[in-house]
């Protein structure tokens, strides 16, 4: 469950990126968040993972009050989230397999147990044949799948994706969206930021709209 109430976010330079944002996303629900560029979508997602802290208001994730979380507890919050970043944050000095392995190493999996999970995650996103490949040799869509594989390998209960279909052609974008829908169907809470109009047209999910930091729907 993700629940915002009266959340404000003012950046150190004084810019108010979110104003009085409140909504609740139930466990197992899937939703999209849209809005013009600079509306505050990324900011909102970063608040969920405690990458940014709210200026005021409360954010509850799976019953935990993130806005009051001690910094020592933040890593453990993040391990329960699957995060796909707008700027991807792929590590280009290691192959596909090791990129996906990283979250498991962080959680302390033995390498045998981890190998199976990495393969399963790569299989789900259709990259099993490329586990030895360098990320730089992947196409844009494949890199995006790599990010998704890394986000789901820990089997998180909440999956958060920031512009996962940016710069992809329509077919590829639909593939990716289908993938998220399949995670949703097995009970994962899915929250996706996008301004891809086509994606919005073809969906029956809940859609939030941000406008200059304010939630309009």
């Amino acid at each position: 469950m993700i629940s915002f109430s009266q959340v404000y976010k003012r950046y150190p330079n004084g810019f108010e990126a979110l104003k009085n944002v409140g909504f609740t996303l139930e466990a197992g629900e899937m939703a999209l968040i849209t809005g013009h560029s600079g509306a505050g979508k990324t900011t909102l997602l970063r608040l969920i993972a405690a990458i940014e802290r709210p200026t005021s208001g409360s954010i509850i994730i799976n019953g935990q009050n993130v806005s009051a979380l001690k910094s020592g507890a933040i890593p453990f919050l993040r391990r329960n989230l699957g995060l796909v970043f707008q700027d991807q944050k792929i590590l280009f000095d290691r192959n596909v397999f090791n990129n996906v392995l990283l979250p498991l190493q962080i959680s302390g999996f033995s390498s045998r147990a981890a190998t199976g999970r990495v393969r399963a995650a790569l299989d789900k996103v259709g990259l099993l044949g490329k586990e030895k490949a360098r990320p730089i040799t992947l196409s844009g869509g494949e890199q995006q799948r790599l990010c998704i594989a890394r986000a789901i390998v820990n089997r998180p209960s909440i999956l958060i994706a920031d512009e996962p279909t940016a710069n992809l052609d329509a077919d590829y974008a639909r593939d990716i969206m289908d993938m998220f829908r399949s995670f949703h169907q097995v009970g994962v809470t899915v929250f996706i930021a996008t301004h891809d109009a086509e994606l919005l047209g073809s969906t029956q999910q809940r859609v939030f709209t941000l406008d200059h930091g304010e939630l309009t729907t």
Binding site: A49, I51, G72, P75, F76, L77, R78, R79, L83, F85, K89, L91, D93, L102, P103, Q105, I106, S107, G108, F109, S110, S111, R150, N154
Partner: protein, 302 residues
């Protein structure tokens, strides 16, 4: 437990991989650490050897106990029994005043002068060999025997050994100071190497933090790295000292043969060697730790 093990194994493997990944840089820094340590440790070994050697030359630790001139036979006998009971006395020999003057007369050109004296000016004496050869023990024995009523004066025959010992003590102090200074440089080396690593691994650290790595998780491989570098540096220092001892020993053996002394240089004891390795590992770890805690704050996820 298994997560804990896996974390440490992972960190250790990563540290080794990073060391091997930049072999030239690793060798250089390990060399620097090794040389820095070989200086104080090497001097320490030499001092230990000097002490052992001085023990060889000074021979049995002896004291001369000169009695008061008016001492009579009974008092000498009493003193003798006291010396027999003293646990710090290994053996003793009585030299009567008559014997003494006889010896003196034979070994001296002043015999004529002695003949001119009305009475024998020399006192009765005991020559005592102490159980323990250390200067402290000799000094203690001297003070103890000096308090006896019949005793006029106690002479420690190995004053030069005491002086040498004082010099060795001074040398050890110098070694300690040198070690402290060079330890600082070892910490500085580790600090800088880790700093460079952190800078080149910014992305990796940032991503790891974003997906739930604790600071500890990120810190651990760096600490292992510093410790491994330190311990290998310590081993290099040990090898440098071994080589030096081997070379010097060959030269020394010929010299010693001239004096018909069978003496070989000692290496660091097992205990000292282990201390050296542990200490250098600890210094590397410390340098890494300071570096990591200093630079971590700069890498917050964006």
């Amino acid at each position: 437990m298994s997560a804990w093990l896996s974390h440490h194994f992972h960190a250790f493997a990563l540290a080794i991989k990073r060391l091997a990944g930049a072999p030239f840089g690793s060798l250089l820094s390990i060399g620097v650490i090794g040389i820095a340590f070989s200086l104080p440790a090497g001097i320490y070994v030499m001092l230990e050897n000097l002490q052992a050697l001085s023990g060889r030359f000074s021979g049995a630790p002896q004291l001369s106990l000169f009695l008061k001139l008016e001492t009579n036979q009974d008092q000498v006998a009493e003193l003798e029994s006291r010396l027999k009971q003293n646990p710090n006395v290994a053996s003793f020999r009585f030299v009567s005043r008559d014997q003494a003057i006889e010896q003196f007369r034979q070994g001296s050109e002043l015999a004529d002068v002695l003949d001119g004296l009305a009475r024998n000016p020399l006192p009765d004496a005991f020559v005592i060999t102490a159980k323990t050869p250390s200067p402290e023990a000799l000094e203690g024995l001297r003070a103890e025997l000096g308090k006896l009523p019949q005793v006029e004066h106690v002479q420690v025959d190995s004053d030069w050994a005491r002086r040498l010992d004082a010099l060795l003590k001074l040398g050890r102090l110098a070694v300690l100071m040198l070690a402290a200074l060079l330890s600082f440089s070892v910490v500085a080396v580790a600090f800088n190497i880790i700093r460079l690593q952190i800078l080149t691994m910014r992305d990796e650290i940032e991503v790891a933090k974003l997906i739930g790595a604790t600071n500890r998780f990120i810190r651990r491989p760096f600490l292992y790295f510093g410790a491994i570098q330190g311990i290998v540096g310590g081993a290099v220092a040990w090898l440098i000292i071994s080589l030096a001892i081997h070379l010097i020993d060959e030269q020394l053996e010929q010299l010693m043969r001239l004096y018909e002394i069978n003496f070989h240089l000692y290496h660091l004891s097992l205990e000292d060697s282990l201390s050296l390795l542990l200490f250098s590992a600890w210094l590397g770890w410390t340098g890494a730790w300071i570096s990591v805690s200093n630079h971590f704050r700069q890498i917050e996820p964006r």
